[in-house]
Symmetry: C2
Subunit: 466 residues, 2 copies
């Protein structure tokens, strides 16, 4: 057989681009080869670089991720939704995901809306609640339109206490309710007296105890730092929040001890937090929202700054087009189910908790949280591979959030719709699973990809500008 | 060149044992090869199987590890050392590691002894303390001879409060003081008014608050479970105890809230624990001691059930010879030093904390704790490799302690001196580093191997029985 080096009459070094099999056949002939990992953009996907108005998209994106990296989201206080969330009023209910009217709402969102109306005292039972919910007398709006995020159904009603976050770098605020725990809870569409009683206790006991403690901490609690620390303790701060919950308790417990004059109430508050490893989710989410909002509205940017689901639709918004939702039907979740439930019981993907992936942690940092696979399925290797894959579709890495097992590499940050379309790799999300019928609650947890259509439509919208 | 397959006239599959270069030269000839990772025992090391009295060593070892695996160490209460530690008296001081007299004690142990005498009110300053310490009026004994373990110098004096552990499976007890934190602290040989004041506060405030809380918990606190959970949260429970400390606080805080009537004291106790990520070390250590003692005394066993250092000598004891110490000079620690300190300031390896490696966690579980490398040096890959290497010298794996990143494999359990000598692999330990002079305290943290001589002597002792 003629060798390549014979043809050229000298030693060669070959740079191979694309298919590895090409490099291998050259290397077999003792030719030094360097392999470049590259695949051509998918058919019909051209690289978008500069808009017609002259904006360099990479530069715009750099601005976006720089703003996210500079963010300093701090828990500064608490308040009642109607008093503190801008635009909130007595007949408004906020929900997760893109805009949706009662008629199109999925089961768990309906259940949570009805449950919230009963909790608010606006309806005495589910029949009355359903009637009111469908009457046109309630204004529905996405949490995201009110600087708020809500896990799963994401229902925020006027009387609910919320955490108040300030992004100290940019001065903007974000809001989120307190986490109820797992199982039959409102955010999973759970209804029933125990759900309303828990919500009431969270309003009358949990909230004032946390609130008073926070009032005694003039600097608030730096949640960005807690997320970063928790990432060295096996959390990814979306579906694993064990370390974050622990660190939050450590941060606030001395202040609670000083400001709570009822020993039994203090004990119950600590027990409530201790028994709910997801307590920190409702802190990691608004931290992400507070970090992302100042990065919205950078002209020409192809970075996703909102990614959220209402259980019917999955929606994204780009920094460069901050008021436009690109939506697609919400996907099915592959997951681990609680005993007695199967995939047939599952509602499609739901919740604003994808704010964590959008902000550079959550599912994107799954490599930091190998033990999460006991909750959402998969293997520790899958968790590592997921993070590595997400670097392919993100514009940057977050130096504030590092993953020990990847040699302290920063997390994948800034989903770029161009990279999503060029690579064909869709964002990977881990999530809880709600029962599809109103009233039941949580049935499992799992993993899925975001639907392609949102990203294709967003890409096309950017392409039109170029 | 003649090919191997030509010689034999047919396709071959070759099993290669030992050197990989042999397999490679065969594989180069397109012969299918299977490589067996195997090295011959080191020179002069024969495989020990059965003692002259007819004990099968493997069977004895299996009994040992079965007992360790079945252990259920629970924190059941607290008490003052003189009241609760068997054999303790008013003029006794316990220390880490194998037996040692004042004359041979290293600097940090001397410092800690003198500090303890001042704390006890038996001496008014260091000159008086030194005189008393050397007078013969104090009885020194290893913690290990009194069901106790102590980190670093490991000094336990009569007035010190200790945690009381019960191994619920076997009914034995173990003891350990409360952890003081890092820096200038007694266990690192630190001396000075702030050291004694802290110890006094730990006796008058911390201890009663924890003790009263524990008294209200009839089942105590299951520390084995906390170690297992912490291992899914980036701890290895020797030099990384951030998750363990957090989980312990979560477990005891509600009880403290209910039983402490002084809000400011409660706040200070929580703050003290929160500010010391090593607080849990003094719980993970006695948990190991409680687990290991029932595994002592199994005839013919070559498993290490005690491994401890006093800063002068490193010592081990075998299950099969529970009263005999095999010692060697304590080693030098390669580490990361605090600003202003270097390897020249370092005392040799010291402390009973190697009880954690002996019991199947600590340095042996370093793969679970990649972030520990920021404290002890090395890389996350080194942490994983360390654990993988320790499987080579351990008899079993601990099903109760699993490492997520190794696909939830159980930790290496039961150091077998036969395997240590056959492979030449010495146990790898991570540790804090004390200043070699009395009075200074902690100067860094690092990693080292146990000295070969102890293992060789222990092997020889077993060999004599065979």
């Amino acid at each position: 057989m003629t060798k390549i080096s014979d043809i050229f009459g000298k030693e060669l070094t070959v740079v191979n681009v694309g298919l590895t099999s090409m490099a291998e056949s050259v290397a077999d002939q003792d030719v030094k080869t360097v392999h470049l990992d590259w695949v051509p953009p998918k058919e019909g996907i051209r690289r978008l670089r500069v808009t017609k108005s002259g904006v360099n998209i990479d530069e715009a994106n750099q601005q976006v991720v720089d703003r996210i990296k500079k963010a300093l989201p701090v828990l500064v206080g608490m308040g009642i939704a109607r008093d503190v969330i801008p635009g909130m009023h007595d007949r408004m209910i906020l929900h997760a995901g893109p805009p949706i009217e009662w008629e199109r709402m999925c089961g768990p969102t309906r259940g949570a809306v009805m449950g919230a109306l009963i909790y608010e005292g606006l309806a005495k039972d589910s029949a009355e609640a359903e009637k009111l919910a469908a009457s046109g007398g309630i204004e529905y709006a996405p949490c995201h339109h009110h600087h708020t995020v809500g896990p799963m159904a994401g229902i925020v009603s006027p009387s609910m206490p919320v955490f108040i976050f300030e992004n100290k770098t940019f001065g903007n605020y974000a809001y989120c309710t307190q986490n109820e725990g797992l199982g039959k809870v409102l955010r999973y569409g759970g209804m029933g007296d125990e759900v309303y009683a828990r919500l009431k206790w969270m309003e009358t006991d949990l909230y004032p105890t946390l609130d008073r403690a926070l009032q005694s901490l003039p600097d608030g609690i730096d949640i960005k730092s807690l997320i970063a620390q928790a990432m060295h303790m096996g959390d990814e701060s979306h579906n694993r929040n064990r370390a974050g919950t622990s660190l939050f308790l450590r941060a606030i417990a001395p202040a609670m001890a000083r400001t709570c004059d009822d020993r039994e109430r203090l004990a119950k508050v600590i027990e409530f937090i201790d028994k709910n490893d997801h307590f920190f989710l409702n802190l990691s989410m608004p931290a992400g929202k507070a970090a992302l909002e100042p990065a919205e509205g950078i002209e020409g940017s192809s970075i996703v700054t909102v990614m959220a689901r209402n259980g019917t639709d999955f929606g994204i918004r780009l920094s460069g087009m901050p008021d436009r939702w690109f939506t697609a039907p919400a996907g099915e979740v592959e997951g681990l189910y609680f005993p007695g439930f199967t995939v047939k019981d599952a509602n499609p993907d739901i919740g604003d908790s994808t704010v964590t992936e959008t902000a550079g942690y959550g599912g994107f940092a799954m490599a930091a949280a190998p033990a999460i696979t006991q909750f959402v399925g998969g293997s520790p290797q899958m968790a590592i591979d997921s993070t590595l894959e997400m670097y392919e579709i993100t514009f940057d890495e977050h130096p504030g959030f590092t993953i020990p097992v990847l040699n302290f590499r920063g997390t994948p940050l800034g989903i770029d719709v161009r990279l999503v379309m060029e690579t064909g790799i869709l964002p990977k999300i881990n999530t809880g699973i709600a029962h599809k019928e109103p009233g039941v609650g949580m049935v499992g947890a799992g993993i899925l990809r975001a639907p392609e259509k949102c990203f294709r439509d967003a890409y096309d919208a950017i392409a039109e500008l170029c």
